[in-house]
């Protein structure tokens, strides 16, 4: 076969290819490095006692049960508020809003919300919920701050899912005499459940990883709270991320920090996997 490509072109292509492999390689190595190092330093310190106790100065032991519980409370409280509101907003955007300009304004607002850095949410959450609503530094104030932060996610995923519900479903239901709300409740929402689930999973991921917004809203306390105490104003509590920050930056207890980091990594992995799984189910249904 005759050479058709000049040497210069060949070298250029080889160079670009090498750069591509190099970039992908670097990124994978960084990930493996981070995960490997954290698990290597963190896993040995995860003991049953570490997971099921609170820090005790007396015995000189650390435990992260309060932080695990606080993270769970934050997830629960946030979802309970944000789910109905976010799904409602998506329903309004997709089913009710007739004016295109109104839809555009709301979408612009959601985009703006999703772009605001978490430290600003922390500050505004402190101003609004901790001081203005006088909830005090508390899990409740933290959860309400997280509601604003996760609202765009829930709206977007639900809306995307609502869009895939065929218009014929709606027309069929309406033609049979159903009211609009009845139609939405019995036909549209059940068909869009997977988008809502995806939104929840993504929100949980966001909540688990959030720290800057919680530092001055949910506080830094390490006490074990019951579920009834957790929803009361004035009861502060640090999430896993905030605890990690405090252990690493303020107290220099790196072993504890790495142990928390490994738990966060595992959680991230699980959340990532379940998001992918639901996305796959969503796609399958879309094809049907």
């Amino acid at each position: 076969m005759r050479e058709t490509i000049s040497k210069g072109r060949k070298i250029k292509c080889a160079l670009l290819n090498a750069l591509m492999y190099l970039s992908a390689g670097i990124i994978c190595l960084v990930l493996i490095g981070i995960i490997g190092y954290i698990l290597y330093r963190g896993l040995p310190h995860i003991t049953p006692r570490f997971l099921t106790s609170k820090p005790s100065l007396l015995r000189g032991t650390t435990g992260i049960l309060p932080n695990i519980l606080n993270t769970l409370y934050l997830i629960l409280m946030t979802l309970i508020v944000v789910l109905p509101v976010g799904v409602g907003a998506a329903i309004y955007l997709n089913e009710y809003a007739a004016n295109k300009k109104v839809v555009r304004v709301i979408e612009l607002a959601t985009e703006t919300l999703s772009g605001i850095p978490s430290i600003i949410y922390g500050l505004v959450g402190m101003l609004i919920f901790v001081q203005f609503c006088s909830l005090g530094t508390s899990l409740l104030a933290g959860a309400l701050t997280l509601v604003i932060m996760t609202l765009p996610t829930i709206i977007r995923t639900t809306q995307e899912s609502l869009k895939t519900v065929p218009i014929g479903y709606r027309e069929g239901s309406l033609a049979l005499g159903a009211g609009k709300w009845y139609m939405i409740r019995t036909v549209v929402l059940p068909s869009a459940i997977d988008g809502i689930v995806t939104g929840c999973i993504l929100s949980v991921g966001k909540i688990v990883g959030e720290s800057a917004a919680l530092l001055y809203t949910a506080g830094m306390a390490n006490e074990i709270l019951g579920i009834t105490d957790a929803v009361k104003p004035g009861n502060a509590g640090s999430s896993l991320t905030v605890a990690l920050y405090m252990y690493a930056k303020e107290r220099g207890e790196f072993e504890t920090a790495f142990a928390i980091a490994s738990i966060l990594l595992v959680l991230t992995f699980v959340i990532n996997m379940s998001a992918k799984l639901t996305a796959r189910i969503l796609k399958k249904r879309g094809n049907r």
């Binding site: 109905p84 709301i106 600003i120 980091a261």
Partner: protein, 291 residues
């Protein structure tokens, strides 16, 4: 029968109102956030003087004669972001091209899975790794008294913006119609040439979007940067301890009072304006893309 219908009608109307309220909640949040930031942030700016505040090079909030100049923070945020973009965008773009066009399906899935995982890692975890690995490494490699400086922050920020750059560029590259490529290949260009001279230019605006999102993420990052940048209010130099706009807010919030505290809200207002400008650019880019 009539009564039933009336009740149903009322219920329909009620649901309509509830959904409309939910819909406008996001707008209300944006207005409330903006309102609070302006009301709390503006007084200090007018007290300090807008030029002294924005262009003052000294931040000494706890000194007896306090001075509140946030130019060091603004410049640090800009330089830090610029640095992360300069390193992260080429790296991310090459990776995105690799994943979208060059890699075999299995390898491609593996790399994009890695990128997804990277995007899910909490920022405090990045901060921890930066603190324990990068800071000592930078200190030793450049023979410095302290490794917590702008350079370490740039490295951490680079890793943190990579996922958004890669995944959005990848989507943009995949969306380029197959015919473009086929035409180029039929004319005798190699696969690599086709990708770089035809596909990437066609995906330009999507790639730009990814860069702007990366900038947004980098300028808003607080916790990771707080753990690696040293947190001293210096004018930015590559190997000096620095303070970003975000960390300036976070580091003094817990003990501040009076004008100092108000000035922190003013910093938040400045950061908010930055983010709004970035959002505006993003919208312009996306709109241009639609046309």
């Amino acid at each position: 029968m009539k009564k039933l219908k009336k009740a149903a009608n009322f219920f329909e109307k009620l649901m309509n109102i509830i959904f409309t309220a939910c819909g406008f909640l996001a707008v209300a949040f944006v207005i409330v956030i903006t309102g609070f930031l302006v009301v709390k942030g503006a007084p200090a700016i007018s007290k300090i003087g807008i030029t002294d505040f924005l262009f003052g090079t000294k931040w000494e909030s706890t000194a007896s004669e306090a001075s509140y100049g946030i130019l060091p923070f603004i410049l640090t945020s800009v330089y830090g972001t610029l640095g992360a973009v300069i390193i992260g965008v080429p790296l991310g773009l090459f990776c995105a091209i690799f994943v979208a066009k060059m890699a075999k399906p299995n390898l491609s899935r593996m790399v994009s899975g890695a990128v997804d995982l990277l995007s899910g890692i909490p920022s405090v975890v990045y901060g921890l790794v930066g603190m324990i690995i990068i800071v000592p490494f930078v200190r030793k490699a450049f023979n410095l008294p302290d490794g917590a400086n702008l350079f370490s922050a740039i490295i951490v920020l680079t890793v943190m913006i990579l996922p958004s750059v890669v995944s959005i560029s990848e989507t943009a590259i995949r969306a380029v119609p197959r015919e473009y490529e086929e035409a180029s290949l039929a004319l005798g260009a190699t696969k690599t040439e086709t990708v770089f001279k035809v596909v990437v230019p066609a995906a330009k605006s999507g790639i730009l979007t990814s860069v702007v999102l990366g900038i947004g993420r980098s300028i808003g990052e607080a916790m990771a940067v707080m753990m690696v940048a040293g947190n001293v209010a210096n004018m930015p130099r590559l190997f000096k301890s620095v303070r970003f706009l975000t960390t300036a807010i976070a580091s003094e919030m817990s003990y501040s009072s009076g004008l100092q505290r108000e000035a922190l809200f003013s910093i938040a207002l400045v950061l908010f304006v930055f983010i709004l400008i970035i959002n505006l650019i993003l919208n312009l880019v996306v709109k241009k893309d639609k046309n």
